[in-house]
């Protein structure tokens, strides 16, 4: 139930970001200066934290989505859905923690 709610919330957030992300990338067709200015806002630490949240949302959505696929297509999937959930959580932590270390050191380190 809560994984279902999380899947919807993260899915919606990711879709909204995707619309904005295509628009900001489209600035490469305006001029290098315009694009670099827009990207400059992403280099700010507030946006850096939002980006960390975005990556967390993407990983939650990805691993829960893979769990849904396994439950739907593997005959023993429904039986092991709880185990699969915890495998997903483990994979999430395993990828998210190193990512956050790298990303936050970029955001808060240097300059």
């Amino acid at each position: 139930m809560w994984s279902w709610v999380l899947h919807r919330v993260t899915g919606f957030l990711i879709f909204m970001f995707l619309l904005v992300h295509v628009l900001d990338t489209a600035m490469v067709r305006v001029s290098p200066e315009t694009y670099d200015n827009i990207m400059g806002t992403y280099h700010n630490w507030v946006m850096g934290l939002a980006e960390a949240g975005l990556v967390a949302a993407i990983l939650v959505h990805a691993f829960n989505g893979l769990r849904i696929v396994v439950v739907d297509f593997w005959s023993k999937g429904p039986k092991y859905q709880k185990t699969l959930l915890w495998i997903g959580v483990a994979a999430l932590v395993l990828l998210l923690v190193p990512f956050l270390v790298i990303h936050l050191s970029h955001i808060f380190g240097g300059e």
């Binding site: 995707l18 849904i68 790298i102 990303h103 970029h106």
Partner: protein
């Protein structure tokens, strides 16, 4: 209370209010699409995140015009981003369509929200596709290279 039919019972075709008879299997196709595209998107999105946020020395702070120019000078990344754009937009728009069906109770509200999603979908997919394929890594104005262009434009 009426007993529900045995799950294996042959399907009885009901018409009338509340029962929409469709000739196609569009919803089933959509159901499979969400799962298949989802698996492909996991690989495409994780590759995208690693290439843009983890591999460059300063992560997100490395991303500027020259970085994009470097990536899109290879057909591989162009196709990667194109497939990512299309699959993610179809997957996302179809997901939002499900929310509209679930949460918008008035049929006119549902219609307008879906039209809105359709317009946003078409605009973003067309714009994104054009940007990937009309991108100029060395933009010139009056014969002069614009500031911010990558080093490989000036041999």
């Amino acid at each position: 209370m009426t007993a529900i039919a045995d799950p294996k019972a042959p399907r009885t075709r009901q018409t009338g209010p509340g029962r929409r008879v469709t000739r196609t299997n569009a919803e089933a196709v959509g159901w499979v699409f969400m799962r298949v595209s989802g698996v492909v998107l996991v690989a495409l999105v994780l590759g995208h995140l690693v290439a843009n946020l983890v591999v460059p020395a300063d992560g997100v702070r490395s991303i500027d015009f020259a970085f994009v120019a470097g990536k899109w000078s290879s057909l591989g990344w162009q196709l990667w981003d194109l497939l990512l754009l299309w699959l993610a937009m179809i997957h996302g728009a179809n997901g939002v369509r499900t929310f509209i069906n679930d949460y918008a109770t008035k049929s006119t509200t549902r219609l307008w929200l879906k039209v809105l999603v359709g317009i946003a979908f078409a605009a973003v997919v067309v714009l994104g596709t054009l940007v990937i394929f009309t991108f100029d890594p060395c933009p010139m104005v009056d014969g002069a290279l614009l500031d911010g262009a990558p080093g490989f434009c000036t041999p």
